[in-house]
């Protein structure tokens, strides 16, 4: 299994979650985060904003679905025709085990 952590624009969260739902991935955890990227934030005149508000989505999927999820997120989170700085990032982490608390069972070991 793989954990997908993605940082996206707050105004795109709705579109990303809708796209994931339509692709068959309803289970998702959302959190407010602040961050900057390699552009070191936004510079407006004299002022630099380097703690830009973003939303982080976290989901755990089977390895087989990993590429589909990444593709879905890229398509829905990108802004403009060719994408723009600040559209976000996707991180993929290995998950060795996953348990469902309500049944107390191991869902699948690596």
């Amino acid at each position: 299994m793989a954990m997908i952590q993605t940082v996206v624009r707050p105004e795109r969260v709705h579109a990303v979650m809708k796209a994931l739902l339509d692709a068959g991935f309803p289970a998702v955890t959302k959190m407010d985060v602040f961050g900057r990227g390699k552009q070191r934030g936004l510079k407006v005149g004299e002022i630099t904003y380097d703690e830009l508000p973003k939303e982080m989505l976290m989901l755990v999927v089977d390895d087989a679905d990993k590429d589909l999820v990444i593709e879905t997120i890229i398509k829905s989170a990108r802004t403009g025709a060719r994408g723009a700085y600040g559209d976000g990032k996707i991180f993929v982490l290995p998950v060795e085990a996953s348990y469902t608390v309500s049944s107390g069972t191991l869902d699948g070991a690596k």
Binding site: P26, A27, T29, M58, P94, T100, V101, S102
Partner: protein
């Protein structure tokens, strides 16, 4: 070392904290998140249907089930304590109803205690 990432009920945090101390892993951090699971049933649809509000159901269907407040708990533990910590969390959170949460175990390659500069397992020792 493993990182245990658990998405749990908000009202189970006190039980979870006590259980973790019992299991010998007191250190953790948690944050407020919103989330949903497989979501086969959206209770808003069920309520709206009961009240005969068809237009409300049509409006809700688009976005899928609503996000519910949850606690995301991160605990980093040495390999030998993983099973103990996972069972402690399950024990403390299990009601048998959907929504109890999920626990993921992720590998961690290094840990540093900032105060002392200790690395790896030494940085996780709690004594």
């Amino acid at each position: 070392m493993k990182q245990i990432v658990a998405i749990l009920r908000v009202d189970a945090m006190n039980r979870t904290k006590a259980a973790l101390v019992q299991a010998g892993v007191a250190g953790f951090f948690a944050r407020k998140v919103l989330g949903r699971g497989k979501g086969r049933v959206d209770f808003r649809v069920a309520y709206a249907a009961e009240a005969g509000r068809d237009e409300a159901i049509a409006h809700l269907k688009d976005d899928g089930p609503m996000l519910l407040p949850k606690r995301l708990v991160h605990v980093v533990v040495p390999d030998e304590k993983v099973q103990l910590a996972v069972s402690a969390i399950i024990e403390a959170n299990r009601t048998g109803q959907p929504g109890d949460g999920r626990i993921f175990v992720l590998p961690v390659t290094d840990t540093v205690r900032i105060r002392t500069g200790e690395r790896a397992e030494a940085a996780l020792r709690e004594d």
